[in-house]
């Protein structure tokens, strides 16, 4: 990140502007919000890392059922603990920004929905996805029978090569049929 928490270097700012889909103001705002998440000791570390619990305390992510997956997907930590550096945070905001392309959004959406990180959405992933969508409480969850039928319908519709899983290309193909995806896959600080 460079220098103290209060200032972002101009060359870094322009580099980030070129490499992400964020505008200058958005990057500055992100820097401000990120610095607020840092504890006092971390501020003087060259590339500080915010633990996942702190990131999940952001109001934009607090109630999102996919918040843990989002942190894991964008985290570059070796310990796979979901902690984010500032650059990871910018990656996150860039993928969720207004001007990100459909390709980027669908790529990251796929990775977020791939709960077991095996590169495809199989039945287990789809089941976890539907459970996240329908909520935590028991009365909103689908019954086992409904879940089974739903997953088989989804695979029938989206699995083109009929291998029982949805890979990235098939996922992107489904996404391209929905015009609402780009506008709903957005988080703004």
């Amino acid at each position: 990140m460079g220098t103290t928490a209060s200032q972002l270097r101009k060359d870094l700012l322009s580099e980030y502007q070129e490499l992400t889909f964020l505008t200058k103001q958005e990057i500055i705002l992100a820097h401000k919000r990120f610095s607020e998440l840092l504890s006092k000791e971390d501020r003087n570390v060259p590339t500080p890392r915010v633990p996942m619990e702190k990131v999940l305390s952001l109001p934009e992510l607090k109630s999102n059922p996919f918040r843990k997956r989002i942190c894991h997907v964008f985290s570059t930590s070796d310990m796979k603990d979901g902690s984010l550096t500032f650059e990871d945070f910018l990656d996150l905001l860039s993928a969720f920004s207004d001007s990100a392309t459909l390709e980027i959004k669908s790529h990251y959406a796929f990775r977020i929905f791939d709960f077991d990180d095996d590169g495809t959405l199989d039945g287990g992933d789809l089941e976890k996805l539907v459970n996240c969508l329908t909520g935590e409480t028991d009365d909103t969850r689908l019954t086992t029978e409904e879940m089974r039928q739903l997953i088989s319908n989804i695979l029938e519709e989206s699995d083109i090569d009929k291998d029982g899983t949805v890979n990235l290309s098939e996922f992107q193909h489904v996404i391209s049929r929905s015009p609402d995806f780009v506008s709903s896959f957005k988080i703004v600080l």
Partner: protein, 834 residues
């Protein structure tokens, strides 16, 4: 058949044995690691169609027999989801390129980037695709990549850097931005790309001039966008609303913002070119004695009628900067026109041209945004199955409040359950009654009420005019002035009450889907508003403008302008009353008396149609009241804040699904077609065919309004013969209908060609889907054959099994080459063609 299978798989067979020696414990740990594609117990799916099953059955009969002995559900379960795969099969499955995504697979992403960057350079290297098939590394296992893989990654990276360097600067930036790598990786790549040449000098030295110009234009364009985006009107409020109510309600407020921008544009142009010059050089008016009561603000009469607000104030003279304008005579003012330093500003010409250019630019912007919106929301496939789309795309990540998140979850659950039950039972959305007769009744009620409303307004307007004529001799009383507000009041009442009636009527009807219900309700509301506006336009332009003396009017344009001003204001007042009484009191009533737990829902369609109606009035009134956009701006600002507060206090998010982008396309096309087109048609009609009044306004002595332009063109011809071709161009293009016919014919041909192209693309897509399905079957067949061979080796059931050969030196990854080559070929085929 089996023979050929064995032959093809012989190298794999032999190499497999090498990996199988003493590997049983490893196999258990591997399968326990959760790398299989799902447990068969929960997924009893019929993946294969009967035809596919037959095809595979004929080829793999012996395999299935063996599998049947082990588990009963082998036919039912997904053939690739079995738990008991061998190690090598699992490795093959996990390293398939279609599954390699994630942080470990930078290689794959960089390779894809390579493909895209070479395609950008329009250099189709066939070798590029085939070279992807070399030595896949074992990902997803946490096993360190071989040194060969690291080298390969480096070469790929170097290739990518070379490709990027050969692109133009703009393309390079766009490619880097669109790559799904982490920011740290991208920074490294960027440094490599810019390391050889000094970044800035590349941009300035070797670049040809036209590309410099392009760069300059880009800078200007992005500068403008930056300024516009930094204005960011109402950003915080919109975020709060989106977070609580979702994308549907947010689109209403975004629509208000769009209309506000349109009106600001109208106001600036009109203000700069029309109002300002006239305000600086005010004409001489006889001061009239008007008592100043507050009512003038609502009726637009009194001292306002002789102000800049209305048409009647504007003179028909040319303003010269050095002397006072002359009101009495037409034509030029005092002073000699041959003086080159004097700026002559011809007000009638400016009036005509400003209005014309405003409408033209607004039309272009509207059509452009409509086409962009349509492009975003158009779907090539009209598929019935929406479940995958619903599951993958319906979560709105903007929603951040806990309550709203819970509501969204409930929404989605309801929709999924509805879809599932539809698939099972095929039920329609039930209304109270059913049948064609009910539909006919509903339509006849709606159309009948619309017709009677329009007729009533027409008669009432005539009656009001007669009443007004009775008091036509300068008698100015407050009651008389207030009576002017009666017609707008009646129209607004009709606008408020009839949609309620339409809602009631559609409640008893029975529709195929909620979206059809919504479209029908929008159509009925639209029909109501169009007919009301049509009647009013006929009344003003057809009756009043044709015989102004009969209606006792000196200046009919000012009168029409005042009417429109009154309509706009009264509409706003009624909206405020409806919001306060309708939403607030209804909420109290429903919660207190009816004891409903849920608050009322914000009716998006109805509110958007109200906005469109208001904007139509503004456009209609622009010719007669140049300052009407200012009134509309104030109204929109107040409306935004009022609706926002009312929403936050009284309403809650809707439970019904709202297809935001289809709806915004619909609304912007409604704004363009009936609303803007209607306004343009009436303004054009006014300018072209109606005689302006002779007592007031800038066109007072001309037979038609556009004659000011014609006069100017003729003057131009006489003073400056070089510009005579402008006149010729005008008469050829605009007044000659043949040119317009030709243009329309060309457009129709272009549209036809595009639809044919679309049909062709649909056919290609269905063919490709079949091909992919076949490749998938091949893949499954090969994997299961691989597994079958392994099982035959491991559990030899027949005494005629071959003796185990000695180990060979070929290493494990090579054995997967055959399968991975096929996979990569499939993958690259798909990429190339799709």
């Amino acid at each position: 058949m089996a023979y050929s299978v064995d032959f093809n798989l012989r190298p794999i067979m032999e190499l497999e044995l090498e990996s199988l020696r003493g590997d049983d414990t490893a196999q258990d740990s591997m399968t326990g690691a959760g790398l299989e594609s799902g447990s068969p117990e929960t997924l009893e799916m019929e993946v294969l169609t009967t035809e596919g099953r037959d095809r595979l059955a004929s080829q793999m009969s012996d395999v299935r027999e063996r599998a049947d002995e082990r588990s009963e559900e082998s036919i039912q379960t997904n053939l690739l989801a079995r738990k008991s795969w061998s190690t090598a099969t699992l490795r093959v499955l996990s390293s398939m390129p279609s599954r390699s995504i994630g942080q470990q697979s930078r290689l794959e992403i960089i390779s894809q980037c390579n493909i895209r960057s070479t395609q950008l350079r329009r250099y189709h290297r066939q070798t590029q695709d085939v070279s992807l098939s070399s030595r896949p590394s074992i990902r997803g296992y946490g096993i360190e990549a071989d040194s060969e893989d690291v080298c390969e990654e480096e070469t790929k990276r170097q290739e990518l850097v070379n490709n990027l360097q050969s692109l133009s600067a703009g393309d390079r930036v766009r490619m880097l931005r669109a790559t799904p790598l982490s920011l740290a990786e991208k920074t490294k790549l960027r440094k490599l790309v810019f390391s050889d040449k000094v970044g800035q000098s590349l941009l300035s030295s070797q670049v040809p001039c036209c590309s410099l110009l392009k760069r300059a234009l880009y800078h200007i364009w992005f500068g403008c966008l930056f300024i516009l985006s930094s204005l960011q009107l109402w950003q915080v409020a919109l975020k709060r609303l989106g977070g609580r109510f979702g994308t549907g309600v947010l689109s209403y407020f975004l629509f208000i913002r769009t209309l506000l921008l349109f009106n600001v544009f109208l106001f600036l142009i009109n203000g700069l070119f029309l109002v300002l010059p006239q305000a600086i050089h005010p004409p001489l008016h006889t001061p009239s004695s008007h008592r100043v009561t507050g009512l003038e603000l609502f009726t637009g009469t009194g001292y306002l009628s002789n102000s800049l607000m209305f048409y009647g104030y504007y003179t028909n003279s040319t303003i010269n900067t050095s002397c006072r304008p002359d009101k009495a005579t037409a034509g030029t003012g005092c002073g000699t026109t041959s003086d080159p330093h004097m700026m002559a500003y011809n007000i009638p010409l400016a009036y005509c041209f400003t209005i014309g250019i405003t409408f033209f630019i607004t039309g272009i912007v509207l059509v452009y945004s409509m086409s962009k919106s349509f492009e975003r929301s158009f779907r090539v496939f009209k598929s019935q199955g929406n479940m995958a789309i619903k599951v993958f795309c319906s979560w709105d990540f903007k929603v951040s409040k806990k309550m709203s998140v819970r509501l969204q979850s409930e929404n989605i659950t309801t929709q999924l359950k509805e879809l599932l039950s539809e698939v099972k039972g095929g039920e329609e959305e039930k209304g109270r009654l059913s049948g064609m007769a009910v539909h006919l009744l509903a339509w006849s009620i709606s159309l009948g009420s619309t017709f009677f409303c329009a007729l009533g307004i027409h008669c009432f307007a005539k009656y009001m005019h007669l009443r007004r004529l009775e008091h036509a001799e300068g008698e100015v009383s407050v009651v008389h002035e207030a009576r002017l507000l009666a017609l707008p009041g009646v129209v607004s009442c009709g606008n408020l009450l009839l949609p309620g009636l339409f809602n009631l009527v559609s409640w008893m009807e029975n529709f195929n889907s909620p979206i059809v219900r919504l479209y029908v309700s929008i159509f009925r509301n639209l029909l109501l508003k169009v007919s009301i506006l049509g009647v009013l336009c006929y009344h003003w332009l057809g009756k009043i403008a044709a015989e102004p003396e009969q209606h006792g009017l000196q200046c009919w344009e000012s009168f029409v302008g005042q009417e429109l001003y009154r309509f706009l204001l009264v509409d706003f007042i009624f909206t405020v009353l409806y919001t306060v009484f309708g939403e607030f009191i209804w909420k109290r009533f429903s919660q207190g008396v009816l004891r409903r737990r849920r608050k009322p829902v914000f009716d998006i369609a109805r509110n958007v149609l109200e906005l469109i109606y208001g904007q139509t009035l503004t456009w209609l009134g622009l010719l007669f009241t140049p300052l009407l956009p200012a009134v509309q701006i104030l109204k929109l600002l107040l409306l935004f804040h009022m609706k926002k507060s009312s929403l936050l206090v009284n309403c809650q998010a809707s439970r019904k699904p709202w297809r935001a982008s289809q709806m915004s396309t619909l609304f912007i096309s409604l704004l363009c077609f009936p609303s803007f087109l209607g306004a343009t048609v009436s303004v054009t009609y006014t300018i072209w065919t109606i005689k302006p009044s002779s007592g007031c306004g800038p066109f007072r002595n001309l037979p038609f309004m556009f004659h000011s332009g014609k006069q100017w063109a003729q003057e131009l011809k006489s003073t400056n013969p070089k510009l005579a071709w402008l006149n010729w161009v005008h008469s050829c293009l605009v007044e000659n209908p043949l040119f317009l016919f030709l243009l329309a014919g060309v457009f129709l041909m272009v549209i036809y060609i595009h639809t044919q192209v679309l049909e062709g693309q649909r056919k290609i897509i269905s063919l490709l889907q079949e091909q992919i399905e076949n490749e998938g079957k091949d893949k499954k067949f090969l994997i299961t054959s691989l597994q079958a061979i392994h099982e035959k080796r491991q559990y030899p059931l027949s005494p005629s099994s071959r003796p185990q050969p000695q180990g060979s030196e070929v290493s494990d990854p090579d054995c997967a080459v055959f399968i991975s080559v096929r996979n990569r070929k499939m993958f690259s085929n798909r990429k190339r063609k799709c």
